[in-house]
Amino acid sequence: MIAGIGEKVGASGVFLTCIIVVYFILGIVDFELARNTLHVLWTLILRVLPILILVFGIMFLTNLFFEPRNIVIILGKGSGFRGWAFAISGGIISSGPIYMWYPLLGDLKERGMKDSLIAAFLYNRAIKIPLIPMMVSYFGWPFTVTLFIYMILFSIANGLAVEKFVQGGKQ
């Protein structure tokens, strides 16, 4: 029966249901902690909602203006330097939590975006220009600049490694 329900709601439904069950159990075991968690949850939802709307807007525009063949040219095999530049700068510019960008990346992947560029985009989400002054105030300029240069370089190495291993497993 459980397997039947699983097939009906899909893996994402099972994932969500499991977490809701954990919340229910927490509510029974420690009501105060559950209430605090719901408060944290509400704050988190308010914080991510504008990003979710932004991602929806970008997805709509890419669906509207970019045919899959355009995506392949810009972000697919043979996209070369331009593809890396898009992925790295996109990762740096994009704001909000990393998981908010999974739907857009999943969509672009289905339409031909390379694994290496997705990995590079996600890696560069670590570099946030508005947060640079904060990092400088904690760790200083030399540390901040060195770290950011390494992160950009390693995003490429990481992207290439991910693609090699993912494709290696498919063959």
């Binding site: 893996a11 994402s12 439904g13 994932f15 969500l16 977490i19 954990v22 919340y23 902690l33 605090n36 968690t37 719901l38 944290v40 949850l41 988190l44 939802i45 991510v48 929806f56 997805m59 709509f60 669906n63 509207l64 203006f65 939590p97 990393i98 998981y99 908010m100 999974y102 739907p103 990346l105 999943g106 969509d107 992947k109 694994d115 997705i118 990995a119 996600l122 890696y123 989400r125 670590a126 946030k128 947060l131 904060m134 904690y138 760790f139 030399p142 540390f143 060195t146 770290l147 390494y150 992160m151 390693f154 190495a157 990481n158 490694a161 991910v162 291993f165 993912v166 497993g169 498919k170």
Partner: protein
């Protein structure tokens, strides 16, 4: 500039809504999980788990950063506090880099939306590069 006709706009909107409907339960699940992890983790936990060992601490830093995750700003604040507590810069850097590049809590969502193999490989490689970046950064600044 040529305007896109209404039919094409509706088609694009329908496609976007379909994609979003598919991913919304996963996103909601991750948000629920993050809220749970955030309220269950005591704020003073981070300082207690480091050993003072130059080899083990970067590994611990990367592991804690991988499991925690969230806003990069939070990692800077915790990293700054850890530094004040005398935790090595190597461990703090590995912690900060892993915090944003590795996501154990988001892993199920990443696997469902970008593929299981991709998500696991990306997170594993990001974990190791967090340690390598920490070593290189601290070495080049002469902090070892």
């Amino acid at each position: 500039m040529e305007f896109v006709n209404l039919d094409t706009q509706l088609q694009a909107l329908r496609k976007t809504v379909q994609s979003f409907k598919r991913t919304l339960p996963i996103l909601l699940g991750v948000i629920l999980l993050l809220a749970l992890a955030s309220s269950l983790t005591p704020k003073n936990l981070y300082g207690k788990i480091f050993t003072g060992n130059q080899i083990i601490d970067p590994l611990i830093g990367a592991m804690v950063g991988s499991v925690a995750g969230g806003n990069p700003l939070t990692s800077y604040i915790i990293g700054g506090e850890l530094r004040l507590q005398g935790i090595s810069m190597l461990a703090v850097t590995a912690f900060i880099v892993a915090w944003v590049t590795v996501g154990v809590i988001q892993l199920p969502a990443e696997a469902l939306m970008l593929g299981k193999r991709f998500a696991i490989i990306r997170n594993v490689t990001s974990f190791f590069t967090a340690i390598i970046i920490a070593i290189l950064t601290v070495l080049i600044l002469g902090w070892i």
